[in-house]
Symmetry: C2
Subunit: 300 residues, 2 copies
């Protein structure tokens, strides 16, 4: 075994022809992407990332082989600083990417990071790439996703350097009222009122945190954490809270909508560009596989 | 005096034909500007701002009348979140900008803020505008200017959402070594080594703070405060500190250059887009005029 230099816990030895799972942390400015998921004729995060991976891994043009799997399928215009994804790569192909010059790292994975930086456009970066621990699945092992939504609700708060990820809200918002409306939404609930309906899919989600606060620059930030989100859920929650913040709706209103059991007409969906996926949480390595199995059972 | 509603300390009553000085806080993304100062055929911050002010103040096309005066004349590509400027406007012309409908504010100044927001392009915002206190001069009353320079010195630190104001540095930097090099540069010194020479101009400046630290996102930030800066000084200081951070120069090297008394050849000027003017400091209102006089004496 000439390649047994992998002291850092390989899930399977490299170079034996088996598949190696690589875990990536990814950040992107969603402005010029039609969301995460590959769509024909559209520039998508998954599409651009797959192309770059195929290049640095020197694979054939069929990127579907990679099995690129993501923790949070963000919509068009939504950003990420803490997105997580995985791919499965043939171990022998991975070993073949190693630089041949003397003194190069026997592990081919670290070199991929800078190579990806050289190939990716500036609006997307792979921030870390490493061999995944056994049982890791970017989507099904995740415990929670955390998003932040940024609102500049006064001209004095608008910073042109942050205009890509901050919404200029035309009216001042009462952050105290919004914060008071938040606790009533927490817990394992049916969020049908806040979801775009998909036939046959459950709209029950576990909302773990919903915090409204002013950042250091005075911008109003809504931090939201849940086990998972249905489509447009964070932006709908922000829209409902903003209605309270403007004084158009009472503090009790956002929670009262949960009883509807269907999409609420009065809830505006806040603009996409204020939203950023900032973190995906996973259990300790020895619980990854169990979490994966549990999530799959629930979704089935 | 029908317009004597100005309870908030007017330097001179409005509407009597005298000049009224307006103080503005300004933020801009410097990417698409050829710096602050008006230049023919160039898109500059002062040029774009003057045009917008002329429009909302309903003045003639000759914007030179405004006497737009700024605290820090930033170079091409440099940003600002805390820039300060003033203009002098004819009081009667200012009163004439008031909306005529019933219930409108008797003070014409607050309405200018949202009107400017409607006229300015998205890469520049006026964040506040108010009547200046007596003796205020955006340039000569200032006590200090504070800049921050942001360096992402590892692929894991690069955030595409901050790529406009953060330099991706190709090598890792030892922030401890950089911080150790900083104190030797503090104080009232001849910064000729760090300045682009201008005939007849002094290069003596008072460097009040030079702090090297990691921000919450891991990005290396250099915070620099001085009474004033000569041309390219902050970016040259960052270039010298980065040479220490890379281990190419000893910790003592940046301070040792001060003895040269002329531009140091070995100092690289760090890229413009990592630099942002974040604050301009002024004395209490009753000392504004004295500070103005003191600064003018020193420059003469």
């Amino acid at each position: 075994m000439p390649d047994a230099h992998n002291v850092t816990e390989p899930a399977a030895p490299l170079g034996d022809g088996g598949l190696v799972r690589l875990r990536m942390a990814i950040a992107y400015d969603g402005t010029a992407f039609s969301g995460w998921a590959v769509q024909p004729e559209q520039r998508t995060v998954a599409g651009v990332l797959s192309e770059a991976l195929v290049r640095v891994l020197r694979l054939g043009p069929d990127s579907a082989d990679l099995g690129l799997t993501v923790a949070g399928r963000t919509d068009a215009g939504v950003h990420a600083t803490g997105q997580v994804a995985h791919i499965d790569v043939d171990g022998a192909a991975l070993m073949a990417t190693r630089s041949s010059h003397a003194g190069s790292d026997p592990d081919p994975v670290p070199a991929l990071l800078r190579r990806l930086g050289g190939v990716l456009p500036p609006d997307i970066r792979v921030r870390t790439i490493e061999r995944a621990a056994a049982g890791f699945d970017a989507r099904f092992s995740a415990l929670a996703r955390t998003y932040v939504y940024r609102l500049a609700d006064h001209p004095s708060l608008i910073n042109p350097l942050r205009r890509v990820d901050t919404v200029a809200w035309p009216r001042e918002l009462d952050d105290g009222a919004m914060a008071a409306a938040a606790p009533g939404l927490l817990g394992e609930r049916d969020f049908a009122a806040y979801c775009k309906r998909r036939e046959g899919a459950t709209t029950v989600r576990g909302l773990q945190a919903l915090d409204v606060r002013r950042a250091g620059d005075g911008v109003l930030e809504v931090h939201v954490r849940a086990d998972a989100f249905c489509h447009s859920m964070v932006r709908s929650l922000v829209g409902a809270l903003a209605a309270v913040g403007e004084g158009r709706k009472p503090v009790e209103w956002p929670a009262s909508l949960l009883a509807l059991g269907e999409r609420a007409n009065g809830v505006a969906v806040a603009p996409a560009h204020g939203l950023t996926l900032i973190q995906v949480s996973y259990p300790p390595d020895d619980q990854l596989a169990a979490r994966d199995a549990q999530t799959r059972r629930r979704r089935a």
